[in-house]
Symmetry: C2
Subunit: 276 residues, 2 copies
C-alpha cells in the first residue's frame, strides 16, 4: 500500500488549488492512491519486490477490453544496455536507464492476424482505423491499471511518449511483428526519496466535466486562473515559470513542435497499420 503521508484534503488542495469543500465526498484507500499519483523521474537502483511485475500484469489484464479482443502486449525490459538504448531513442530520458524496469506497451494487432492465418480466415477488419483505436484505448486501459497497481505497492512510474519518436527503430530493437507498435513506455521503480516528485495541479473540474451537453462557458477565464495556479506551484518548486496556456499551445504549434512524431502516420504505415 501507498504510505498515507498526505491527507485526502491535502491531495485535493494539491490537485485543484482549492480546499475540499464537499464534506460528503467519498474517501477510501483506492481513491487516496489514485489521487496521490505523480510522475516519478528519479529512481533508486533497487530491484522491484518479488511478484510486482506479475501483479501489475494481472491488474492490466483485469481492465476492460473491447469484445475481449485483448489486442495488446507488454515487454518487460530489465537489461541495462537495452534500457540505455531506449533512453537515447526517447530523446535522452535518463530515468529509463535509472529505473530497474522499463515496460514497452505494445498496441498488438499481430496476434489476431496470426490466429486468423492459423484458421485460414480473413482478418481484414484489422486494417481499419477503428481497430487501431480499439488497440490504443485497450492498451492504455491495461497500462493504467498496471500503473495503479505499481503505485499501490509504493513504486513510482512515468509514461514515456518518447517511444513514438522513432517507432520503426524501436520495433526493430524489440523484434516486433507487423501490426504492432510500441504505443508508449513506462518506467517502474522505487522513487528516490532525495528527489521527491510533486502532485501536479490540473484544470478545474468545471472545465473538463460537462452536464448533458458540451459547454465551454467561462473556459478562458478558468484557464487563466489555472495558469496562475500552475505558475505559483512552479515558482514554489524553483522551476521555470511559463503559463500553462502558453506552454500547451506551443506544444501543438505545428509539426516542428512534435519531437519528430509528425511522421507517426508514415511510421505506423511502415509497421503494417493501414488505418483505412
Amino acid at each position: 500500500m501507498t504510505v498515507l503521508t498526505s491527507s485526502f484534503d491535502a491531495l485535493w488542495q494539491a490537485r485543484y488549488g482549492l480546499p475540499l469543500s464537499e464534506a460528503d465526498l467519498p474517501h477510501n484507500a483506492v481513491l487516496q492512491s489514485l489521487l496521490e499519483h505523480r510522475s516519478v523521474r528519479a529512481f533508486l537502483p533497487d530491484a522491484l519486490p518479488a511478484g510486482a511485475l506479475e501483479a501489475g500484469v494481472a491488474a492490466a489484464q483485469s481492465a476492460s477490453t473491447s469484445s475481449n479482443l485483448q489486442v495488446w502486449s507488454v515487454i518487460a525490459i530489465r537489461d541495462p544496455a537495452r534500457r540505455a538504448r531506449f533512453a537515447e531513442l526517447s530523446g535522452g530520458q535518463r530515468h529509463i536507464e535509472q529505473a530497474p524496469l522499463f515496460l514497452a506497451w505494445v498496441l498488438d494487432l499481430s496476434r489476431l492476424r496470426r490466429l486468423g492465418d492459423a484458421r485460414e480466415q480473413a482478418t481484414d477488419g484489422l486494417d481499419y482505423l477503428e481497430t487501431f483505436v480499439v488497440g490504443s484505448v485497450d492498451t492504455a486501459l491495461a497500462a493504467q491499471n498496471a500503473a495503479v497497481a505499481f503505485e499501490s505497492l509504493g513504486l513510482g512510474i512515468v509514461y514515456i511518449g518518447g517511444m513514438r519518436n522513432h517507432p520503426e527503430i524501436v520495433a526493430e530493437e524489440l523484434g516486433l511483428p507487423a501490426g504492432s507498435l510500441v504505443l508508449f513506455g513506462m518506467c517502474v521503480g522505487h522513487p528516490d526519496p532525495a528527489l521527491p516528485a510533486t502532485v501536479k495541479p490540473r484544470l478545474p473540474q468545471s472545465v473538463v466535466l460537462h452536464h448533458d451537453r458540451y459547454g465551454a462557458t467561462d473556459e478562458l477565464q478558468q484557464c487563466r486562473a489555472y495558469d496562475e495556479q500552475m505558475q505559483q506551484a512552479q515558482s514554489r518548486q524553483g522551476r521555470a515559470v511559463q503559463p500553462w496556456s502558453e506552454a500547451v499551445v506551443q506544444r501543438v504549434a505545428g509539426p516542428a513542435s512534435l519531437s519528430g512524431r509528425d511522421r507517426l502516420r508514415e511510421a505506423v504505415a511502415a509497421l503494417g497499420f493501414e488505418l483505412r
Copy 2:
C-alpha cells in the same frame, strides 16, 4: 470500498483458471479492487452516492497526461430521454437506459484550438495522427482511473464502444465542437445483485508478457488452452459456447464485422480530425 467477498486466490483463479502459485505475490486492497473488475450490464435504478461523480473525475484528472495537455472532457448524462437515445445509437444497449449515470468520454482537441485562437497562435500540431493518439491514450488513462474509483465505491461500470457506431450523430446530440469525438461511453451505477456479473478469464500471462524482446513461442497452443478455459467458464454460466479464437477472428473478419465502425476514418474527418 469494494466488499472483499472473494479471496485474492479465488480472483486469480477466476482470471487465469489456475491457482495462484507464487506465494510471495503482493496483495493489498487496491490490487484486490483491480482484480475484482467485471463489466456490469444490469443496474439498479438508485442514484449514485453524493460526491461519487466528483471523486471519479478527480481520479481521472489524477492520471498521467502527455505534456499536461489534458486533451479530454467528460459529459455526465443523467437525463433518461438522452440515455435512451444513446442506448439506441449504441446498437440497443439497454444498460445505458438502466444505469443512472452515463458518461461520454470525449477525445477533446478543441480546447487547445480555442486557447490557440484566443492567443492568435497556430495550433497546426493538432492536425497530426500523433495528437489524435495522445488524445486517445490520455482519454483512456483518465477513464480507467475513474472506473477504478467507481468500483472502489462498490459501483459497477461497463465501457460502451458502441458510441463509435454513429460518431457524427452522437457529436451533434451532445453539441460537440470540431476537433472532439466521443471515444467511448461508460455506464455507472449500482450493480443489480439479482444478475451478478462474473470475472472474465483472460489469456495466460505468458501470451501477453514478453521479456526483453517480443516472442510468440507456444502462442497458438496457449490460445487453444484459453479457448477451452473460456468454453468451460461459459458453459458453467449456461451461455453460448464459442471458442475465443473463433469469436475474435470473426470480430475482425472485415468491414462488415465492425458494426458500422469501418467508416470511423470518414467520421473523424467530418468531425475535424485530419490525422496527417
